[in-house]
Structures are given as structure tokens and as C-alpha cells.
Point group: D2
Chain length 323, copies 4
């Protein structure tokens, strides 16, 4: 018998996410004062931000824009050779891949679009964060001093895009980049309504869920990790005190069992807090969990019904007069 | 310039640890009643046990023996091809590698010894745990029902061996199996006193620390993961109620920042509880942290002095009349 | 100026609650196996149960009955003299107060009814719990060994009755027993929709909320305390695994800021878990917080809408054909 | 049989503690930036501070002084009449009680000294904290907005004095003020080495432990409450980042089972963090727990040996040349 094909291990991890915001100053204040992130650079219309445990210079790029949504999301490869292999695979599958220069924090970003039109980037060369004296940690195995400000997010965890054709997007990321699907939702119609992909031992590095309005390229949320569920409960109080709109949570997803809390940042983008890493997928041959429509009707793990706006709110907002 | 050599990604994760115990019944009761593990098989002198989130049939093999210590530790490879490559690398470096058959839960285990004489095993074929009806979980993306008994350990996390020559052991695992060293301790004399190796995004899958008595092949501890630090504090109370000897903790290590609690199981082996996964190493080119003798003199992260027995107690115990 | 009247300090604390259940065996299994309570006696149709930190013999009396609901709730007075004073005050206000003998765990219980018809009891003489050898704690300042089984509820915290006339009930408990109202809800109509009373430094020992169906004497829930919010999150998973119906939560109440989780026990009675004691009312002259209808429309602290059944489900169930 | 004497319920709770500091600016920065307290007034050499859940204007008075130590500690009575009764009882027992005017936040403070010479104060009239607009909380049943800065201490919890004759001090507070002793330590010699007193449902409002050097009037520590043990673990990291000396902990006391963490503030006074209120003493006739010398030799609850400085460090420091 033929042994199974070997897993491709070329993508190392999610590196950063660029969010577009029509209210850049308010968004920046939100990420610094409420989320407890640290500004690590500015260039053009962008401010670069990081959690205290992110090892690279930044994990969030906040870019002033006419509307909200995803600028791009970037994955770091495991090696220069791995980068070359993935670029070749993308091109072999007929994708345009263009070099992008001039961002802070990393070398050439090779950019391409997924079947739904979202912009992605692969890179290898990166800048390790060097904390200035005032932000140096007490323990040398930590990237930056724990801030003790607001919610103190630890690191970027994952993001979630909306897509008109979720299955096509999954196949794109599986076949060109070697992502593995740990969980997915398949409707009774056979349509794929959600998929969670990983390149690491985290049970997902990003997800795509069904766009209900037929508009491609929209964004659902970006997620930052905290150390404990207790820290997420504390965060809910801090959001409350700051008048931040809490959409839903804290509660536990059935899918992936993530302990979650969703809010909207001032620019309109949905931001999630989640518990860092309790659940790891260690099996190299993990068997994809497929949830049925009936199973998903039960709501979240402890019975909370999924809030309606979770299926409708994305960024940028729908165009006027859109149904 | 030559690009750096690509990382070897052939080992997927730590699979199981075999502990030897001269008090098999008491040890079994400890792991089932106090630790909250589940028995998943018996064969010969061994009982096979698992945490509720371990995906394979077992993660702990408890074997009746004349003394205590490590039976063997086993790593699962990422694929059959990866297994072949690692066996070839071991042999190319002059190691004896022998097939071992007949254990529950997995296919052929290929066994070899590290430079200090500990017994290791590589395997790929494995048995996924199938929970019997009474132990089926409510959520289908979970291996087994949460037990609600004692400490409810989630999964095997790592183990720690003592070695007379730590550096030689590190080089052995790096060069033959592709493990990456995330942190290490180097004494002023240049001797290596500790090293932490990983094949995953966990910041270590096992560690070796200095054997102070010149006796090869001894074992320091095995560690199981819980979901939160609060769960580890609760575990301390449960150990207290069961009269289990708490050696040190709960506290936070400076090295690796692990939140720890150490006890001795009835067979004499040291067992640790640690917090699952808050700290992940995502960088594919992580830069090894080297701690100096002076830095380590500061004790643990929050100032606790490392307890003396931590440097002396290992299993099996030292031979009589040994200094 | 006349000094204010001195507070009456005669009631020491809530002692126990008697729940009626039409499914006594299933209810008992729920409280022992899932809630982690300990049986401490049986008499007639009743089983007596306790949390590991309750100092009296029992805090819950579970009584087989044709339907569900509250049997009675009992308060312990601060002294024999305090008991006499309160009985005199009850009688002076025209209430029937009858001695009740023969229950396990305490001396004469003096029984009376509130304006809505619920049965209450005052007592002073009580039996301190003496743990049998197998349940003796490691620390002598603890009533009983921590069980390490299921949810491990710590102690009885409070209960909540429904009442047709909440204001009349509040005035009854304030004037005859000296309870202090820490928070209340007043509708735009002037009607009182909820009130929270305390005799201790806990911010409430019991509550009454509006009966929406005009049926007197019904019961809303009984609450047991856990040590942390993390323990309540863990409890949600344990309920999930046992197929226990989770009605709502975990979430944080705006009123009293209680972190809550509501389930139904097999007999139909609503049971709540709450976080022990983070919020204390230390002010002897605490100023009652009055919530308006508009404020309550905002839902719970973090925005969760109060679930409809919370306003309708009580025990015993409404009579057939009742609107 | 004569019924037992009724408990005196005249003291409502610990109101505030005045700390003396020779480094007032650094101490202030510690309490505001690291501990997350809020300044609520200044007068003379004092700055007044509060935790976000303290209902009075302040709970900590920080006073510039030549040395460190306790300025005074103040208890609020339950009523004006209760105040009169306690002043009469103090005077009847031969104590000088003098009115003290002019402090921020409360009416006349009636001051007296305990047998060891520490200065205490009783008062009833007080000023409820009114948060300025920027510090108003989202929930109206909360005194002040949650700060989201540093350690975010919730409220004053208790304090601990050293005394040459602990037993004499206990009897003084029991007989004149009606405090109840929940736990105590009695050495084999019959000497009392520690005692924990309460006027509330907290298991202690203050403690006295043995002064090992024969110097009267010294101070051991003041304690602030946090909401969870997880918050105390987080606080340890924040102390670490700020270079604050951690003396011992986090760990759990056997006595009172308090989860503790001790540091020194810049003025030299020991400050403790503890978990708010999980353990309540509800029994009005609580039976004092007496620990023996042998029992205390076992160290803290989970086995940590009590650190030597815990028995020697007090404030002010011992005079020069003192043994």
C-alpha cells in the first residue's frame, strides 16, 4: 500500500493582520489603552502594534482608510526554502503573486488573493522585537514587559474571514499552502458553512465562515489571546467600563471549544479575545471534525444561542441598498 | 549567502511515557483517583492510562517493577516516511535501533538509547482512543468525557530526565531527531546543566537536567497539563487531602515560565502538574535562551528558592552507599 | 437630631433550604454526583446534604414530594435571646409562629409564612458537622475534606422566591427580622419587581422577584457558592457532560454583580452556582440601590439578554390551564 | 441554664489604615501605579488612597514620616449609639480615649492605644466616596470604575500588628470592642503567638503575631483584597516587572487558608495581597481554632516553609544595635 502523502510543513504561523479603520485615532486608542497593546512603529497611514508575547516587531497593522475591513493577513514560512516552495505552488496553481516592499518589521511580502478576494502575504525575513529599556521584561525569555494596562493581550491568535464559497477557499489554502483543516461545518445542502485551518499545534490559525450576503472579500474578526478564562472575564468588565460594545460572550464555542468574547473596535471591526492554547492539536494526522446543520442548531457549548449579528455583521459594511 | 539548513519536522509529538513502580496498586490508585486519569488497557505487568484530552489510547504506561524510574518514553513521527528518515539518521550515527512489538495502543516501536542510557521509542502507527459509551463526551471534538474526579489531568505534557552529560544528550536529540533547543542552562564552568527541547509549538516536549551523583539513566519527572493555574491551585488542595507529598510549588519557573506543582507518586516517581499551553513557541527559528549560573541563583520567577531535593531526588533512588 | 434607629442584628445567616422533588432518586444523584455534595443523614422522606464548607450538619434538605418547589428555608439566629426577640416581633405583627420538631441537625424550628405563603423557619440550636474519618480534612479549620467529585460546591449561598407582592414581602422581612435591602428593582408603574435582602456581609442572603402569573408561594432558585469564576466555568462543562439542562450563563448579573450559572435539577427546581464572596457589603448603613425598568432593559452586566424562561419558570409548575 | 452572653455587634468593619513612609513619593507611586489604587485627597503630610470597591472616601492614608510603620488603624462602628457604647467600654476598662479631628473622609475619630502601644481609632460618621465623572463606574452598584492599571486592588482587607504580649492584646480587643477570635496559635510554653480577630463575616479583620525582639508597637503588614487567586498570580508578575521585592508567596496559609503574596513597598512596610472573601465565617458562635507549635512547624498549607524574614521584618525597623 502506498504510504499517505507527507504533510507540508512550510508555513510556520500567522504573523500579522492589517485592519483598516475609518477612525484611526479612536481605533489606536482602543488597541493601546483598552487592549493593552504597544505601539512599535508608524509609517504612512499605518500604526504597528504588538502584544507583549509577540516575538516579531508587530502583529497588528492599523491603517487609516475610508472604510473598515481586512487590509491583509500574513503568514511567516518556516525557512527561505519553504517560502520558495509555497510561491512556486501558488504560481503553479495559476495565482498571481507579487512582491510587496516597504512595510516595517519584515522583508519582502509576497502577496496574493484567495478565491474570495482577500489579500494574503507570505514572508520569511522578519525583525525580532527589541524592547526599549522602559519595556524590557524581568525574565529574559519574554519579548516585552507585561504592561499592566487594560486587557494586556498576550499575542495575536487567529482571524476569521467571510467567504461566498468557503469550500473553494479551504481547498485553496490546503492545496497551495499546506494548511490542515481541523474542523468544519457542512450544511444539509452540502454547502460548506465554516472551516478552521491550522499550520501549527494551535487548533486553528484562521477560519472562514459563510458570507450570507454574497459580497466577497469581507472580514469577520481578529482574535488576540489572553492567558486564562479569568482574564477574559476581567476583560469584559474593562470593556464595560470603556463603553465598548460587547456583541456576545464570554461563552464557550462548541466548535473548537474556544472560550470567547466579541466586541467591536471603534472602526467597526469585530475583535475577539480567546484563551491561549489550552487546546492543542498534536496529532499529525488529525481527523477533521465535521459539524452538521442540526448539531450547530444547538448553539454554543453551554447552550447560548449564536447571536444574529454574528451571521450578518462583517467589515466593510454591506454597500447601501444591499439586501 | 547559503540559506540556513531547513528544520527537520519529522517528530510530531511526545506520545507516552512508561513509569516503573514498585507499588503498582498504589500508583494506579494515585493516577486514577487523585490525578483523574482513565485506565484504557492492561497487559502483562502494565496498566495503560490516559488524560481526557489525549487522542491516543494511552499517554502513560504504568509497569510493576522492582524499582522506580523511567521505563521508556515514546515519540510519534509525523508520517511513516518521517519514521524511516529518523531511523536511518539514528543508525547512521551509530545507534542500535531495535523493533519492539506487542504493546497496546500502537504499532512497532523502534527503540534506542540516549547517551545517558535512557530508553526511547519512535513509532507512527497508533490507535486513536474510542471512548466506551459511558465515557463519550458531549462535544464530538473531544476525545473523552471530562471525568470530574480528582485533578482531572488533561493530557501528557512533557518529561524530564537526569543525565551525567546534558550537552551530549542535547546534541544527540538535535542531530538525530531534529529537536530544537528553546532554553538551556550553562554553568560558569561551561558545563551544561539543563536543556529544554521541542518538536512542536509547545516550548518544550522534554528536558534533561544535570545528574548530580554520576549515576546514569535516572528520571526526574513526568508532567501532565491542566487547563488553568486555578486548576493547579485546586490540585494542591486535592493532593493535601489525599496525603500526597507536595515537594514544591505551586510557583512559576523562571526557565520556560511554567506554572508548576511537584509531588511524588506512591512508587516514588516525581510528577508535575503544569498549565497547558499559554506559552507557545511559534518562531521557526527561535533563538535559544541560555541562562547563566548567576541568573539561576535568583531562584524561581517570583523568588522561591529551588528546593534541595529537586537537585537530588531522582528515580530509581541512588544505590546504597552511594555518596 | 435623633440618631437613626440601630440595625437589628438578630439573624445570623441562612441555614438551610428544603427542596421538594418528585424524582427524589435522580435529584439525590444530581446533588451528590454532579454537585459534589455529601449526604449527612436521612429521615422520613428527606435526605440531608451539605457542601464541604458548610459548618452545620446540612444546608440542603431534599424531600420526596408530589411536586417540586420550596419546602422551607431556615435562618439561624445569633443567640437564643435573638431568637426570642424575633419570635416576639413576628407575633406582635400578627403572624402565627409554630414550633417544629424532629428534623435532623438542629433544635426547635419556629415556623411561619411570609405574605406570599412561603414557609420559613428560625432556629438557634444546631448541630456542628462532625466529619467521619474518611471525610476528615487535612486542615483543621475546615469542616470537611474537599471531595474532588463533580462540581464540589462549597456552601449554600442564597435562595430566590417568586412573590405576587414583592414589596409586601420585603417589608415583612425588614420589619420583623431586621433584614437589610441592598438592591431592588422598581418598575415605572411603581411596582417592586425584585429585592435582595441580607443579614450578613454577603450582599444578599435571599431575594424575591415578581411572580408573573399571580400564583403565590412559588420558588425561583437555590444557589450554591464555588470558590472562583473559573470553577463555575468548569462546572458548565461538567453539567454539559451529565446532560444537565443549562438555562443561562455563565454570565455576570448587573444586579449584585453575581457571576452566575443556572441549571434545572432533575426534580425541576432551578439551581444556581455563584462565586463565593468577592463582593461584600461592609457598610452598616448601606444605601439601597434601586434599578429602574429602563436600566434593567439593558440585560445582564455584559449585555446578555435575560432569558424568557427566567421570568416564567418557577416551582412547582403552574397549574394546568393556567395562563 | 443561663443562656450565653450575647455577642457584641458594635464594630462594623475595618475602615482604614495609616501607613508611615520615609519615601512618600515612591510609596505613593507604588500604591497608584503598581497596586492600582486611586488618590482621593491630600492634607498635610498625608495622601489618601482607595481601592475601586472601597465605599468610603479612603481606605489607606499614606503619611510622610521619619520612619515606616503603622500610623493608626480605624474601625467604623455600626451606629452612633454603638460608638458611644464602645467608648464607654474602653473608658470603663481604664483606657484613655481622645477625640481626633481634621482628617479627610470621616467625622471625629476617637483614638486609643492597645496594650502594645499601637494607635487605634473608632468613628461612625463617614464620607461615602463620590467618583468624579472620569472615574464613574458603568454599573451603579459599584463605588468606582475598575481602573485597569497594575494590580487593581479591590479593597482593604485586613492588617497585622506585632505585639510583645499577643494574649493581652487579644483580650483587650475582645473585651472592649467585641471582636471574636476565629483562629490562634498557642506555643508549647502556653504563650500565644498569633491571633486573628473579626467583627464581620470575613474570617478576620486583623491579626496580631508575636514580636520576636521585644520592641512594642511594630507593624507586620497591611492586606488588600483581589477578586481571584488568578489575579494574585498575575500580580506577582506585575511586581516582578516593577522590581518590587517579593518576600514570599503566592501560596496558601494553613491558618485561615488565605491565598497570599507578600511584598515590601518602597517605604519598607510589608504589603499583602489576598483573595477576597471565598472563606466566610457565618457561625455566630464560631469555635476558635487553636494551632499548636507542632502543627505550625509543618509550614504553610501546601508545605512551603515560612520564610525567616516573616518572623523578623517589621516596621519601623529595629533600633540600631538591637539584637
Amino acid at each position: 500500500m502506498q504510504p499517505p502523502e507527507e504533510p507540508v510543513m512550510d508555513v510556520a504561523h500567522l504573523g500579522h493582520v492589517e485592519l483598516l479603520t475609518p477612525r484611526p485615532e479612536e481605533s489606536l486608542r482602543f488597541f493601546v489603552e483598552v487592549m493593552g497593546m504597544t505601539e512599535s512603529g508608524r509609517k504612512g497611514d499605518s500604526v504597528y502594534l504588538r502584544g507583549w508575547d509577540d516575538y516579531e516587531r508587530h502583529s497588528l497593522q492599523l491603517t487609516a482608510s475610508r472604510s473598515s475591513g481586512l487590509g491583509h493577513a500574513a503568514f511567516r514560512t518556516r525557512s527561505p526554502q519553504a517560502l520558495e516552495r509555497r510561491l512556486a505552488a501558488l504560481r503553479a496553481a495559476g495565482n498571481d503573486v507579487e512582491p510587496h516592499e516597504g512595510e516595517l518589521g519584515h522583508g519582502t511580502g509576497w502577496r496574493f488573493r484567495d478565491p474570495d478576494g482577500h489579500l494574503f502575504e507570505l514572508y520569511y525575513e522578519t525583525e525580532w522585537y527589541e524592547a526599549p529599556p522602559a519595556l524590557r521584561p524581568a525574565l529574559k525569555n519574554q519579548a516585552q514587559r507585561f504592561p499592566g494596562r487594560g486587557i494586556n493581550v498576550r499575542r495575536l491568535d487567529h482571524f476569521n474571514c467571510l467567504a461566498v464559497d468557503v469550500r473553494a477557499c479551504r481547498r485553496f489554502f490546503e492545496s497551495t499552502l499546506g494548511f490542515r483543516c481541523t474542523e468544519r461545518i457542512e450544511l444539509d445542502s452540502g454547502e460548506e458553512a465554516g472551516m478552521w485551518l491550522t499550520a501549527t499545534n494551535k487548533s486553528y490559525d484562521f477560519a472562514f465562515t459563510k458570507e450570507a450576503h454574497g459580497v466577497p472579500g469581507r472580514f469577520h474578526h481578529v482574535t488576540f489571546a489572553l492567558d486564562s478564562r479569568e482574564a477574559i472575564l476581567q476583560a469584559a468588565d474593562i470593556f464595560l467600563e470603556h463603553g465598548v460594545h460587547i456583541e456576545t460572550g464570554p461563552h464557550k464555542h462548541a466548535v473548537q471549544q474556544t472560550f470567547f468574547l466579541y466586541v467591536y473596535e471603534p472602526g467597526g471591526n469585530r475583535v475577539e479575545l480567546a484563551n491561549a492554547g489550552a487546546r492543542l492539536v498534536l496529532a499529525p494526522d488529525w481527523r477533521t471534525i465535521t459539524w452538521t446543520e442540526e448539531e450547530r442548531r444547538k448553539g454554543q457549548a453551554w447552550g447560548l444561542k449564536t447571536i444574529e449579528s454574528f451571521h450578518t455583521h462583517g467589515t466593510p459594511p454591506l454597500p447601501p441598498n444591499h439586501d
